[in-house]
Each structure stands twice: as structure tokens, then as C-alpha cells.
Amino acid sequence: MVESVRELIKAHEGVEREVYLDFENSAPVPEEVVREMLPYFNVKAYGNPTLTNKPGWEAYETIISSAKKIAQYIGAKSLEEINFLPGETEANNLAILGTVYKRKGQGNKIIISEIEPLSIIHVCKMLEKSGFRVEKIPVDGEGFINLEWLKEKVDNNTIMVSVSSVNNEIGTIQPIREALDIVKSKKGEIIFHTDISDAYGRIDFDLSRIPVDLATISSYKILGPRGIGALYVREDVKIERILEGQIGTQKLWPGIENTPLIVGFSKASELAFENFEQNINHMRRLRDKLIDGILNGISGTLLNGPSGGKRSPDNVNISFLKCEGESLTIELSLKGVYVSSGSACTRRALQPSHVLTAIGRRFEEAHGSILMKVTRYHTDEDVDYVLKAIPAAVDRLRKIYGSMGG
């Protein structure tokens, strides 16, 4: 099988241009972030931050400075509120399970939205087996949560609510402030968690205005390295650890801190925030150029998620009818355009993306969906190239579809 992958890679030789847009699923780390990280592998701060030797103190100083920087970008009061851990999946697991362990006996209802990432949905499914009741807030055709429904369902038996600030697949910017108000005015003790992995560095998210209890941040989603992320835990909120071992500087996550990755995460945050307005304006312009170019240029296309100011500045998600998504990702890959799809064909089960079905897309619409994210590094030339590649790819696949279904 490995042999055939080598052949697949070879088939890409000689592509005119390469444009990576699969930032949902992984990302290249910018050179400046890599350069910042490198000395921390073996030149400095390679010690254990809780031990009494120079490299250890250097590591301690580095981790604290990084936490301080990230705390400042989200408007956290104290750097103690930033808990580093290996990523979004781990942070979401800790948020849900850590809260449930702490609040045992105080209720058994957990409310999440229908379109949460799988690291929320699957943990909740697991909890359902041990007696918790999980209710999912329905969303409308653009992915916005139903606040009236939330108002009705949140009760004294609810221990926590979790809603992502920005949906990772369709870019919907949720009314988190309103949701938080509804939950807290019902009962102040209910824990409110939000995954801000797709909001951080892309929308103006500030804890002083949206004082949630817990928030998940991922590093690779803002072009930092994979394998690192953080869970913000407000200083007066207590949750339990879900793993045990040697505790160091990170009270909620045992094990030796990964200083180089923390430095990369912090540097990536700095780059996203230092020219925040300029960065998001650039992304938004390229996003709209891509969306408009596709919707106007190709028939049988549907935008998934809202448009304009209610959509994350980086997110493009479009369904191509009579065109299966996995085939489209391969066809585009062979032209140097790297994207992903919500098609069932890229998954084990027959079901397509739960986000797309939740907003009412029929299966055949979801199967033909393509997800792309633009960054501050993309250029107009990149987008022009993509806008040339996609119509040709769709056209070829629709020829294979031919006359089926009339």
C-alpha cells in the first residue's frame, strides 16, 4: 500500500502551482514560526520547567511568557487561566469530562449544539451511556443555533452547555454572548464552554465581553504547530483532571511540558494578532473572491453556511451538485489544489458530514461539498489559480456523471 502512495505522490509531478487550502485538517507551519521554535529543541529552555537547573528555569520562563501572551489575546485576566495540552481534541475532552467529574450529582443534562466537532459529540455520546442526558440545540439553514430552544431547554438539571464560537466546517459565527446570557440567567452555576479554535485570530473574541467559563484553543488552526493547544479555565471555575501523572506547571494536564510547541503556538498567535485587522480583511477579501468566483462561474453550486459578516473570514464551503466530493478532492489535488470534502466517501460510514445534514443539506448535496480555508499568506494569484482549476475539475467529473437522473 505504501508503494501505491508513492505512485500517487509522483503523479503530482510538474503541477503548475500548489495551493494548500485544507487548513481545517492540518496546516504547514510558517517559516517564521519554525525559526522561532528551533532553538527550544536543543539550544535553550530544553529543561523541565519545574526543576531547579538553568535549562529548567528557562523553560519555566518561556512557558509563562507564552501563556501570558495568549491570555492577553483572548482577554483572560490571568496567565494561570491558560492550560496547555496537546490540542483541540484533548481540550474539548477535558472541558466536558473535567466538568462532569467535578459536578457529579449536581444534575445530568448536558447541552451542546448539533454541529459541534466530533471531540465534543463523541464524548457526550460516551456520557449518555453512563446516564447523562445530552440535548442538542438545533441549527437553522445557515448553522445558527436556536436561542429560543436553548431558553426553553436549559434548566436546573443542566450542568454544562458547550457551543463552538465559530463552526469549523461552515464558518457560522454563533451568537455566543446571547447564548451565555440565556444560560447564566437561568442558573449561574451552569458551566459554559466554547471551542474558539476557529474564532481565535479570526473574529474579535474577548473574554471581558464574553465571560465564558471554559474555552478551547488549537494551535494548528492559527498556523502554529500541531500537538499543542490550550483550555482556558476562568480562575474561579474548578474542573477535574482527566489524566493522572506527574503534575508540573500545567495543573490540569500531567506530563512534561512541550516547550518548543508552546513557543510555536505563542509565535503563531502573535503573528495572527499583530496585524489582526489587516489579516482578517485580507482573508475576507480572498474568501469572497473564491466564493463569488465559484458561485457565479459554476452552475449547480450551493454555499454552505452564512455569507458576509456572519461568516468566519477564512471559511469557504461549497456543494457541487452532480459531482462527488472525494473524486473532486483527488482531481483538484492532481492540479495542485489541496482541499477536503464532507462526502461520505472520505469517511468509514456511509453518512456525510453531520454539520451539512444538520443545516438541511440533502445527502447528495453534502457528498459534493468542498471545504477550503484561506490564510493571510494566500495571494490573489493563488485564488485565480484555484478559480481556474475548480471549473475544469467539476466539468470533467460531471461528464462522468453524464445523463444520470435526467
Partner: protein, 168 residues
Amino acid sequence: MSRSPLPYNPKILELFRNPKNLGRMDDATVSAVAGNPSCGDMITFYLKIDDESEAIVKASFESYGCAANIATSSILTEMVKGKKLYDAWQTSWKTVAKEVGGLPTVKFHCGILAVGALRRAIRQYYKIRGHTPEWLPNEPTFEEKQALEEEELAKMLSKRMIEFEGEG
């Protein structure tokens, strides 16, 4: 909803890029569909059959599906061309998978669907002619059943979705 790696082999890639016998056949004797768009997989098989010799003169296909779906459909049209219907019927999904150089486990169903479409077309042919040869099994074969199951599963999932939406 987990994902698995899909290391497609060069043969699949080649057939995906340059499928053989592609497109609707206007003078087809018979055609059959397997799968439907809501499965994410649909194949239409067209056969031109010589009534006298009961041999496939030509075969073509249309496909909505992944690279494995396109490749297996394409190779099957080549495999059965010129064959007697009896011999074409014997083609199993495993032979198809072998011909394309092997399929990733999660893509076995593509080969099954292609064979399912072919066998449906052959059944249809005999149904139109109003006679059933002795070798044609009365009961649907594994590939035909699997194709049906996939269609029913997709139908069931869609129905559940509609019911769920209806609740709100």
C-alpha cells in the same frame, strides 16, 4: 465517523483520470442503475447485446462516486466486452478488485456496486426477453443484495433525517 487512509494504486488513478467506455449508450439493449446519489455512489451500466449469441457487443457506464467507483466501473466494462452473458455474470467483485490492483477495505463496496449494476442489467435483459436461462440464479446474488442494502441504508438514513427535521 472516522476516516481511513486511501492509498489508491496507480491502476485506479489511471482509470480515474482516463476512464474507458464512459458515457450514455444511445443504442443500448439494456441499462441498469445501482446505488443512488444519497449513498454518495451511483453507477449506470449500459450494455449492447447481440441477441443471437447472447454476447456483450459493447458496455459503457456513467458514475457518481469516488475514484474507486469510477475505476471499478470502467474496468468492468472492459472485462465484460465480447463476453457471453453467462461468462459476464460469473465476474465477481473480488475479480474486479483484483483487476484494478486491489481496493482499500473501505472501498470494497465500490467493486460490489459495479458488479451489482452489471448483474441487474443482465437480469433486466432476460426479463425483457421473457425467458430465464437455467444458469441465472432465482435469488439475488451477494453483489445484488449488497447494492440493494446500500440503497436501503441510504434511504433509511435520509428518511430518519427528514423525520428528525419534521420534529423541529
